[in-house]
């Protein structure tokens, strides 16, 4: 009994139908097995096939995909050969699934409790009353607030982190033998991630379940998993126990994943000395801004930013950190001129800056550029790359008409893209290439200040790391200043000279890069630093405890 693996996958092969009707293989010849009580992590970037493999354990393939080869045996059942009826008996009973986005996976029209106990009641394993009692005990075990009444709410009345745990409770209701966690904490704020992750880990340990944990974050996974399987383009790169793999990765791809995640600073001491000597370029004093109707005092209905002070020196990078709801994107919009401030002043190079971009001088518009997060939506799909890059050149009269092609080629070269790309359309480019074009477009105007709004958040870690290298290089070459907005403190630590922390629309902390870990800081800053997973065992439990302490501290701080 102890010898037979609970999950056995051999030679799995999945194809997907492309837009032109042709099929392409998205999972090639993947094999692995999981024993009782073991947690296997599937690591890879987007497109690596990890979710597809996880879903195949339930005998399910997303629309447009189908499993064409291999054998998948879960809890003694061959899911590929099983009839629809047999599959329905296995799904939700012996194998359970916890999806990535809890808010989308709950039916908005039904109460949470009804959905949590549904699968068990329909099968007849428990009566409604027993199921309810069990559900409430699971809510308690997963550290949910008000476990007795939270089930009576509708999904939209509960926060994201709570929904994620409710979904885990739903999966654990039927005492499954295998639970598949599909990137369950990726969509959450970093400070919430830790507690949710710890709750999952405790549940897995106590209930002795086998689990498959899908993630792109090696550090997170090292806390929860026993074994790791690294995937790329649907193929297995490396497989093995988690600790040895982290300490001594053998495969090149694993090594690059580790390198991309490692917090090695890109800035040197020379950069720090240079930064300290620079005059200020942008000064923000007492900024208050928001959306909605203005009342009699001129304050907007929804105030997002409150009394923000910020200074950006020439040729340096200021990192603005915050989670969702902190107002960091609003800050970007205000500086760029998309939103007028209600109170406060912004000085650009000593001159007060007009609130709205339409009121600003063309030169000022040129010197401040904004780079957006989602490169898919920021490049017009019906223009060629060349046209997109030439537009700011023409608008701001950066060069004469016959020099345009040469300039565009130089811009592409600056962001390390081939000049031939000028003839392509955005639809032909990869995510990383699009973001580079985005950057090149901003650089074409020869700005002095570039606001980067979460520019690497939508990219894979390896691709994003390359973009960050590029940003630092351009800073040194062109002496351009950046406001780098992010939610990821480890990225900000490696690329920014000064760091400002926003929490609920207020600035709670500001310091230089070096002082982040040394001097005592605001509890929220400490929370952010603590939430960066480290690759050592036992970190999760410690961090979870620390997080609870900091939360109490934070609530106590004015």
């Amino acid at each position: 009994m102890a010898d037979t693996p609970l999950v056995d996958v051999a030679g799995l092969r999945v194809v997907a139908a492309g837009a032109d009707g042709k099929e392409c293989v998205i999972v090639k010849d993947v094999s692995f097995s999981i024993r009782h009580g073991e947690v296997l992590a599937l690591i890879g970037e987007s497109g690596s096939g990890k979710t597809t493999i996880a879903l195949s354990l339930l005998g399910y393939a997303k629309r447009g995909c189908r499993i064409t080869g291999g054998q998948v045996t879960v809890a003694g059942v061959d899911v590929r050969a099983a009839s629809a009826k047999a599959l329905n008996e296995v799904r939700g009973a012996r194998v359970a699934y916890v999806a990535q986005s809890a808010s989308a996976s709950f039916n908005p029209a039904l109460r949470i409790m009804d959905q949590v106990i549904e699968s068990v009641c329909v099968r007849g394993s428990l009566s409604a009353r027993q199921a309810r009692a069990k559900a409430i005990s699971l809510f308690e075990a997963l550290a949910l607030p008000s476990p007795a009444t939270i089930g009576d709410r509708y999904p939209h009345q509960v926060s994201g982190g709570q929904l994620q745990r409710l979904m885990a409770a739903m999966a654990l209701m039927s005492d499954p033998q295998v639970v598949v966690f599909d990137e369950p904490t990726t969509a959450l704020d970093v400070t919430t991630q830790i507690e949710v992750l710890n709750a999952f880990k405790q549940a897995i340990k106590t209930l002795q379940i086998s689990a498959v944990y899908v993630s792109h974050d090696l550090a997170v996974v090292s806390q929860v998993a026993d074994r790791v399987m690294v995937l790329r383009h649907g193929e297995v790169q490396e497989q093995g126990a988690v600790l040895p793999m982290i300490e001594t990765p053998s495969h090149d791809y694993t090594k690059s994943l580790m390198a991309a995640a490692a917090p090695v600073s890109r800035l040197t001491d020379e950069d720090a000395a240079f930064a300290a000597a620079q005059p200020p370029l942008l000064e923000i004093k007492g900024l208050t801004a928001g959306y909605g109707k203005l009342d009699a005092a001129g304050m907007p209905a929804f105030t997002i930013l409150n009394d923000i002070d910020l200074q950006v020196r020439r040729g340096t990078t200021v990192g603005v950190i915050g989670e969702s709801g902190s107002g960091k994107s609003t800050l970007a919009y205000v500086v760029a001129g998309l939103l007028a401030p209600a109170k406060g002043q912004i000085l650009f190079d000593g001159v007060p800056l007009q609130g709205r971009v339409a009121q600003r001088d063309a030169q000022v518009r040129r010197r401040i550029q904004l780079v957006f997060q989602n490169a898919d939506k920021v490049l017009n799909p019906s223009h060629t790359v060349g046209e997109i890059l030439a537009r700011p050149l023409k608008l701001f009269n950066r060069c004469s008409h016959d020099q345009l092609d040469a300039r565009v080629a130089r811009m592409l070269d600056m962001v390390k893209l081939p000049a031939s790309l000028a003839r392509s359309r955005p639809g032909d480019l990869s995510g990383g290439q699009k973001q580079r074009v985005n950057l090149a477009r901003a650089l074409g105007a020869e700005p002095e200040l570039i606001i980067c709004d979460e520019v690497t958040s939508a990219l894979d870690t390896v691709v994003g790391a390359a973009i960050l290298d590029l940003l630092v290089e351009l800073r040194r070459e062109l002496q351009v200043s950046y406001i780098f907005i992010s939610h990821d403190i480890s990225t900000v630590r490696t690329t920014c000279d000064d760091i400002t922390v926003l929490y609920k629309g207020r600035k709670v902390d500001a310091c230089e890069r070096g002082a982040l870990l040394t001097a005592p800081r605001h509890p929220y800053t400490d929370m952010l630093v603590d939430s960066v997973p480290e690759l050592r065992p036992g970190w999760l439990e410690e961090a979870s405890g620390r997080m609870r302490q900091r939360r109490e501290q934070l609530a106590a701080t004015p």
């Binding site: 879903l55 339930l58 399910y60 997303k62 629309r63 599959l87 329905n88 008996e89 296995v90 799904r91 939700g92 009973a93 359970a96 699934y97 999806a99 986005s101 989308a104 996976s105 709950f106 039916n107 908005p108 029209a109 039904l110 549904e118 699968s119 329909v122 099968r123 607030p145 008000s146 009444t149 939270i150 709410r153 509708y154 939209h156 009345q157 509960v158 926060s159 739903m170």
Partner: protein, 331 residues
């Protein structure tokens, strides 16, 4: 949106009901405003005539003196805005004017006809809604299968086809070749069910065809929209049966869009009823409208147009209220 906390549930509930009522009142207000704009549109379009109402009313008997006299009598010398509001007031108090063609009050002409048209529309709706719902739901549940594709091609063809083709085919098959029903509705024997069926059968059948096709397509689209969502996938992964997923999970969320689709389809009903009443010589409001248009009898035309528009507006309003009440995010 409204992320409630666990505490203060009771207060929240009261607020929600108040919010729903407010949204309903808002919708009704917007509906009345739209009706007002429609009235204005109808009135001012009619005033853009080459020649005017007095001339039209007198027709052949128009001489400069009689036209001037009638103009004075009808109050046509007043500015357009004033005329509009007095016309509107008349309409709201039930004075719909006098027909140009027959000289009878419009109210007398249309009064017996309205119930007939409403009967026809009601019969068509009663038959088509259940059939369309079933077709749409079945097609959505078996998406991509041969059944779905057949239903799809069938409904699409019927929607693309002119109603008079459906009507003529129906008459050819059922009245001429098979002699099951009569081609004319009047004079039929209404006392028994079979007599009713014989007389009403063809018009209702014709009307149903197009409406069912339209409604089935839109129902299928609304349901598929829900079936593509993540919570349905979650249901599949929980091991729930497809029927349960569709009926218990997808349908409640699709009610709003489906009811909307029905209201929109019923506007086709209003258009189709014109053709049907003409072919089958059915004494309803739509055939009155067509006759009035041929005679350029503006008062009758104006009334019929506004009546049909008001009916459609009412349907849309009901659909909107349904959507508001059934929106889960407002609970």
């Amino acid at each position: 949106m409204f992320k409630g906390t666990i505490d203060g549930i009771a207060n929240q509930q009261v607020d929600m009901n108040g919010l729903i009522l407010r949204m309903i009142f808002q919708r009704v207000g917007v509906g009345l405003l739209t009706l007002f704009i429609v009235c204005a549109l109808v009135f001012f379009m009619s005033s853009l005539l080459p020649g005017d109402a007095a001339q039209m009313a007198l027709g052949q008997a128009a001489t400069p003196e009689t036209v001037a006299a009638l103009r004075l009598q009808l109050g046509l010398d007043q500015p357009a805005i004033l005329r509009f509001f007095s016309w509107l007031w008349n309409f709201m108090t039930g004075n719909f004017g006098v027909s140009y063609a027959s000289g009878l009050p419009v109210a007398d002409i249309v009064a017996p006809r309205i119930p007939n048209s409403l009967m026809l529309a009601a019969a068509a709706t009663a038959v088509s809604v259940p059939i369309a719902l079933i077709l749409g739901i079945v097609a959505a549940m078996h998406r991509g299968s041969r059944l779905d594709r057949t239903i799809g091609v069938g409904t699409m063809s019927v929607v693309a086809v002119p109603e008079f083709l459906v009507a003529t085919l129906a008459v050819l098959i059922f009245a001429v070749k098979l002699r099951w029903m009569s081609a004319l509705s009047l004079g039929g024997d209404m006392s028994s069910i079979s007599g009713f069926f014989k007389a009403y059968g063809l018009p209702v059948l014709t009307l149903c065809c197009v409406v069912v096709a339209q409604m089935a397509r839109m129902t299928r689209a609304a349901l598929i929209n829900q079936l593509d969502s993540a919570y349905v996938e979650m249901g599949v992964l929980k091991g729930l049966k497809p029927t349960r997923i569709v009926l218990r999970h997808a349908l409640p969320n699709a009610i709003g869009p489906i009811v909307n689709a029905m209201a929109l389809s019923l506007s086709y009903l209003l258009g189709g009823v014109i053709i049907v009443e003409t072919i089958f010589s059915y004494p309803g409001l739509a055939s009155t409208l067509v006759d009035a248009v041929s005679n350029r009898d503006l008062p009758v035309v104006q009334f019929c147009v506004l009546f049909f528009s008001a009916c459609y507006l009412l349907l849309l309003l009901i659909a909107d209220i349904f959507t508001i009440v059934f929106n889960p995010k407002l609970r």
